[in-house]
Amino acid sequence: MTITYGNLNLGENPPHWRITDLQPHVAIAFKRLFTKVPKTAQKIVLTDTDENRADLHWFMQRYPLKHTHEADLTAGVERITTKAAERERILMPDWKPATASGFVEGRQPYGYQQQAAALTIQNPNLLLGDDLGLGKTISALCALTSGAPLPAAIVVQPHLAGQWADRAEEFTNLRTHIIKGTKPYDLPMADAYVFKYSNIVGWTDVINTGLFRTVIYDEVQELRTGRGTAKGVTADLLSSTADVSMGLTATPIYNYGDEIFNVMQFIEPGLLGDRDEFMREWCDWGKTVKNPDALGTYLRDKGYFLRRTEFDETVSAQMPPLNTVDWEVGWNEGAAQDAEDLFKTLAMTVLEGSFVKAGQAARELDMKMRLLTGVAKADSVAAYVDLLLRDSPRVLLAGWHRDVYDIWNRALQHHNPVMYTGTESPAGKRRNVERFTKGDARVMMISLRSGAGLDGLQEHCSDVVFGELDWSPQVHKQVIGRLRRPGQTRQVTAHYLHTAGGSDPVIMDMLGVKADQSRGIIDPMQGFYAKQMDDSRMRKLAMAVLGREAGE
């Protein structure tokens, strides 16, 4: 007879494993391996999941416990093995999905979208990091029609709620309801309820009832600050009551690598360990991930992060590569002079003021510096856009500050510019998009951080000009993604206009570091990447303006 070191029993309601009478040295070993069990616990209880069954089975090879559940445990182990095998099978390039049910006549998802859906249900949980324009919305809807438990909660950025409901109606038979306001009311019957990040907090009590069995976070980087915000706390509740969690984003990391930890907490908590473990093992207690490539590889291997780009075989979209050009533009000394004195005062406070005052002044200085940089180069930027419009039908112009938009508005008046920023109402935004795509407006000024998810510009425009820079490289990428997505037939050119003064040089240094963090984690093991930089068109235009021949 084998020696046993304690007893193991399966309990009911809810199903759980109870471990009793452990010998002290085995209890210590047990608590070391099962970190979920508090070190001080007298009674050890584990929920009955297949993961826990497999772990118990493994633990008992070293320290047998007295029990009568051999069949239950091995069944759990087998299910886990099958699941891993199934996941591998789905990820094979030759995986053939069945016809997707629940889609309307004449509409079918692409194979790679079904792959994402199947993996989500299999895991069940997935961070889908497909590149911009690959149809993450459809992948998510496909997960809902092909087996994710309903009803689902879809959490989106406020301006995209309508677009999600429209897509669901256009492609699937799912019934949707857009949640209005922050005060709960009786919900009509639906398969998917569309929440906004701005109103989930008000619905905490409803979420707590466990009504939503699947949750989809669109642009999940909204939650990158983790549980530190009210929406983070509610989202955490939503994830823990749902059976399936799915996050969608092409740009999970906006700033430093540690954000991936927060994002994963809402998708598959525990995958990266707890916060301290993650900070110690991956980040050396800093904000930057020491080895982003290793982290990226780990997330993929585990099967909880799926990312395809247009270069993947499974996707092979027919889009020409992005063309990037960057120009150093002049700046207006006059604008700089005006604010000079204010700056000096602020700078003095930063250096010599009290702790509180210095901090305040430093933040103000940063903001003022960016504003000033934007204003100082605004005239040059407007002139550049004007030049570009001699050759290009329409231009998307990205900025940030109201004062900068004002200067552009005046200088580009003859092109009837329209705005797409935080100030316009959703209806106003729709009208402006209409004027830009079908009307007489040839310039649309877009706020750097307002454009996520905006669709429908790609058939009409292929030039985006960055007249102000953002602190995050992915914000630029999001804006470019408005134009470079399925439906775009021409090569998209991104024009970055920066100056040698003000805040631009510092921002660009920071962009280099941040871009490298996210590159390592989401596209690991790439050494260098050669951009396409063809500025011949602008050179030709400039020559024409100056009345010179090319080659002079």
Binding site: T288, K290, P292, T324, D326, P473, H476, A494, Y496, H498, A500, P505, V506, I507, M508, D509, M510, L511, G512, V513, A515, D516, Q517, R519, G520, G527, F528, Y529, A530, K531, Q532, M533
Partner: protein, 119 residues
């Protein structure tokens, strides 16, 4: 490969996105790129009693790689490289923005900003 000039090399380097997290990763990526383009180069070439330049391309074009580093020290190092007449051009590949003169001791200087490359 007699057509390599500091200007043409700088232009090509500006079109690359390279890792900036550690200097070593950056040097490896740069080496990989130089190999892939068939550019003749040497690594870690001794320039003086306490200096070794990171890359020497086509015998006379120096490339120094710096991720984040105090500006003044970078400048002093470049200054030392430019003493003597070994170099026909010096390229600084860096994650730290700094203003550089057009030349030091008659050696033309070129700045490749990794931040700008990451745009």
């Amino acid at each position: 490969m007699s057509d390599i000039t500091p200007q043409s090399l700088t232009h090509k380097l500006r079109g690359l996105r390279m890792p900036v997290t550690t200097e070593l990763a950056l040097q490896d990526a740069l080496e990989e790129w130089l190999n892939s383009t068939g550019t003749p180069f040497e690594r870690e070439v001794r320039m003086g009693p306490k200096d070794r330049i990171d890359f020497m391309v086509a015998d006379t074009i120096g490339i120094e790689v710096k991720t984040r580093y105090p500006r003044r020290q970078i400048y002093r190092q470049l200054e030392r490289y430019c003493e003597g007449d070994r170099l026909t051009g010096l390229i600084l590949v860096t994650g730290t923005y700094l203003g550089l003169p057009d030349q030091i001791h008659g050696v033309p200087l070129f700045l490749v900003s990794l931040g700008r490359g990451a745009l």
